[in-house]
């Protein structure tokens, strides 16, 4: 079993390396010389040359890649053309702010999703099931900013005026020093993710409840509660872990829009600023960071999947 997990780890590392290659090449292959794009109107030849040097654009391609990769590993993510400072400085506490948002959303959405999913599976085809499925079907379709704006209209500017719709941080203090500001962004992310977890949990639970061994457990006269906890739920863990991981990884993307909407000082907003300023070094760093989160979370889900499946767990080293 450990070899299975090791192999999965290697695959993840390989994918991560390929991703870094893709990110780097993407910025090379695409047409348009970044230096000229940034300077725009004022692109006098010598200014372009200076900027190109600063962006190492004049070195041979593979060497630039190695420099960039080397920098990546030692934490130097290159210099941002807009702030002239190192990218790491720009990202610094923004990463912890985004992480706080992600973790809060995950901690709330996962149990909520699993609870609703299980509940509607147990109450299959009855009113509660139809209501939960209907609502989660509708909310699952909505893009993040639609949900965000709806919450702002509902809870901040028009209907009720309870929560601030903008995050204001006094520098030096962490974002959660004023929790009222986190309510709407986290609520938006939770609403974005919970429907998927609920629907997946409901589908998995339905499948497990229809299985032969659950029917056998019932025919052995075991009380429904025991049937659920001992026979049904353990089997839902594997697939649900996959979906939860997928959703959390998807959150990493969704966070970008939510941070822009609420002016939340995380890496998402930094990414949008960098894109509008065409600050390629920052964009590369953040894209890679989000991809890394994506891969790590998927890896964790697979490991949980392996552990939850006794067949794989018992096969030592297959």
């Amino acid at each position: 079993m450990t070899r299975l997990i090791l192999r999965r780890l290697l695959v993840s590392l390989a994918v991560l390396w390929l991703v870094s290659l893709l990110v780097f090449v993407a910025t090379l292959l695409l047409p348009g010389d970044p230096a000229r794009a940034i300077l725009g109107q004022q692109a006098t030849p010598e200014r372009i040359a200076a900027l190109q040097h600063q962006l190492h654009l004049d070195l041979p391609v593979w060497q630039r890649y190695l420099d960039w990769l080397g920098g990546l590993l030692t934490g130097d993510l290159g210099t941002s053309t807009s702030t002239q400072g190192p990218v790491t400085a720009l990202l610094g506490d923004r990463i912890s702010a985004s992480l706080a948002l992600l973790i809060l959303a995950a901690v709330l959405a996962t149990p909520l999703g699993i609870g609703l999913g299980t509940w509607s599976a147990i109450r299959r085809d009855r009113v509660t099931d139809q209501v939960i499925s209907g609502i989660s079907l509708v909310i699952a379709a909505l893009p993040e900013f639609v949900i965000g704006v709806a919450l702002v209209v509902l809870l901040s500017t028009t209907v009720f005026k309870i929560f601030p719709s903008v995050t204001l941080t006094t520098p030096g203090e962490p974002v959660w020093s004023q929790p009222a500001q986190l309510v709407l962004p986290v609520a938006t992310l939770v609403l974005v993710v919970t429907p998927y977890i609920t629907r997946m949990m409901r589908a998995t639970m339905n499948e497990v409840l229809d299985s032969g061994y659950v029917e056998m457990a019932r025919l052995k006269g075991m009380p429904e509660r025991l049937v659920l906890t001992r026979h049904a739920l353990p089997h839902a863990v594997g697939p649900v872990a996959q979906v939860v991981a997928l959703q959390l990884a998807w959150l990493a993307g969704g966070v970008v829009v939510v941070e822009f909407l609420f002016r939340y000082p995380g890496i998402g907003q930094a990414l949008i600023d960098a894109v509008s300023k065409r600050d390629v070094a920052v964009v590369q760093a953040i894209t890679l960071l989000i991809a890394a989160v994506y891969i790590v979370v998927n890896l964790l889900a697979d490991v949980v999947g392996i552990l939850a499946n006794p067949k794989l767990r018992t096969e030592a080293g297959r």
Partner: protein
């Protein structure tokens, strides 16, 4: 006094369709009642009703199921509320599932799954002793290591025994067995039936045995009830029913059961083999599937290739049809060796060797009509014009007694038997010299099985093609084959005419197969 009495049981689906209609039967302690019927006859629903359990979408619509537990007053299960019904299940009435692989929880150790029943019904004695005792009763090792194993670490037969142990753990008064041996090979099936028989008579347990295989009923049951589309058409003691069936449906079922002892048709004169496989061996990685197999079939002759699952019979048939990537040894058609892969064979070679697959549900493209599917080989392998092809297809449909009316039907709209006939029509439309049939009857009900076997016999004699009939069911030997080749772990252990092999089998494995096959 009967332990289980079911009177006028009626069951219908939530939207009103009738499933069971006034079904009545009774089982005395220690007696085994067999409930026989084809798929869709409602026998499983009746069996589960004994435990007061109705699957999703079904609801009880009247009648009573009274159980008189050993030393307890009788109770009608259908009138009990959920909690008291639950107390009955597993202690007074037990259920042995059809497919053990599905019914045992793959992530819970077998020791725990058996102990669960005892704990739920607060078994007075020490649970672990009873678990060991019941495991021994069903012939399974009861040591610590065995208890800690997971279902996937056991063979099919062992898993079924765990199911039986779970059922008999609380010494129930009634046991419902739902076709417990379908998935098993003949030898294991015999052992499991013997165990169930002994346990029932030893503990005076009333057993309701649900099956579609009449041969098994003769071995095991005391009385039989025949079910047909939701009704019990006939029920009687085993001997009387088997010798003097009253209801036409029972007679039809009995006739369809292949009879090993009946003398077969005349054996055709030996002729030049049209197809000959010489020292064919195949291995995937280290496990070797075929070890140098030699087999040949003459024109007009039918060779039965007999073997258990895993013996390599399907692999051999696919080598002949050119569906496996690579194998060593040669397959010769009229002496000329065929290329291993069908893509590198000539159209003529492909036309002369045809193949019929096992499952009628997956051998026809669901999105093509029957006529379109049958036309494919004609388009690919012959240069007939559209009109000629259309005519040839119509002719073939009549030939397999399907009729041209079904030409533009989709497979979904045909029964299992009809689909298999269409598949056979497709294989024969190019008048091949060799027809390979891979387990073509095992997915069908007994009655339909008989019609297919009969059809193949007629077509073989009429079209004079060589027929290689691959199966695990030796009982079909007389019905279809002239010669039999017995395959075991990739080797031909015995070859001979049907009479020689059935009357005086030379290899011990063939002998044990014959003994284990239930006869009427």
């Amino acid at each position: 006094m009967n332990t289980l009495e079911v009177t006028d049981l009626a069951v219908r689906t939530t939207d009103g369709a009738r499933v069971l209609d006034a079904v009545s039967f009774a089982v005395a302690p220690g007696e085994v009642l067999a409930l026989v019927g084809e798929s869709g006859s409602g026998k499983t629903t009746a069996g589960l009703a004994a435990l007061g359990h109705f699957r999703r979408g079904l609801v009880s619509a009247g009648g009573s199921v009274t159980i008189r537990p050993r030393g307890g007053d009788p109770v009608d299960v259908l009138t009990l509320d959920v909690a008291s019904r639950r107390r009955l299940r597993g202690s007074t009435v037990a259920y042995i599932p059809q497919d053990p692989a599905l019914s045992l929880n793959p992530s819970v150790r077998i020791g725990v799954q058996i102990a669960e029943v005892l704990e739920t019904h607060s078994y007075p004695g020490t649970v672990s002793d009873r678990v060991a005792e019941v495991l021994a009763e069903v012939g399974l090792p009861a040591d610590e290591a065995a208890l800690r194993r997971y279902p996937h670490q056991l063979s099919g037969g062992q898993q079924q025994r765990v199911g039986i142990a779970m059922a008999f753990a609380c010494r129930p008064s009634v046991v419902v067995l739902d076709e417990p041996t379908t998935g098993l090979d003949v030898l294991t099936q015999a052992l499991v039936l013997k165990t169930v028989r002994e346990l029932c008579s030893e503990h005076g347990v009333a057993a309701l045995y649900i099956t579609h295989d009449l041969a098994v009923v003769a071995e095991l049951a005391d009385r039989v009830a025949v079910m047909y589309r939701g009704d019990i058409v006939e029920s009687d003691a085993v001997e009387r029913l088997l010798r003097h069936p009253q209801h036409p449906y029972t007679r039809r079922l009995l006739d369809a059961v292949p009879d090993l002892d009946e003398p077969g048709g005349a054996t055709p004169p030996a002729r030049e083999p049209v197809l000959a496989a010489k020292s064919v061996s195949v291995s995937y990685g280290q496990n070797v599937v075929l070890r140098g197999v030699d087999v040949s079939v003459a024109a007009g002759e039918c060779l039965m290739l007999l073997g258990e699952s895993g013996s390599g019979k399907t692999t051999l048939s696919q080598c002949i049809a050119g569906l496996t990537r690579s194998y060593s040894g040669t397959v010769a058609l009229d002496g000329t060796a065929l290329a291993p892969s069908t893509r590198r064979r000539s159209d003529e070679q492909r036309r002369r060797v045809q193949y019929v697959f096992q499952s009628p549900f997956s051998s026809l493209n669901p999105r093509k009509t029957v006529a379109q599917s049958i036309e494919v080989p004609l388009m690919r392998l012959t240069d007939l014009s559209r009109a000629q092809r259309r005519e040839r297809v119509g002719e073939m449909l009549d030939r397999v007694r399907l009729g041209r009316a079904l030409a533009n039907r989709l497979p979904e709209q045909l029964s299992g038997g009809e689909r298999q006939r269409a598949a056979i029509a497709r294989a024969l439309v190019t008048t091949p010299d060799v027809l390979v049939c891979d387990e073509v009857t095992s997915a069908l009900d007994v009655s339909v099985q008989a019609t297919i076997v009969e059809l193949l016999g007629e077509l073989r004699r009429e079209l004079g093609m060589a027929l290689l009939f691959v199966t695990h069911n030796i009982a079909l030997a007389r019905e279809v084959a002239d010669r039999i080749a017995v395959l075991r772990h990739g080797e031909i252990v015995e070859v001979g005419t049907v009479d020689d092999v059935l009357r005086s089998p030379s290899h011990p494995y063939t002998r044990s197969l014959l003994e284990a096959t239930p006869r009427l």
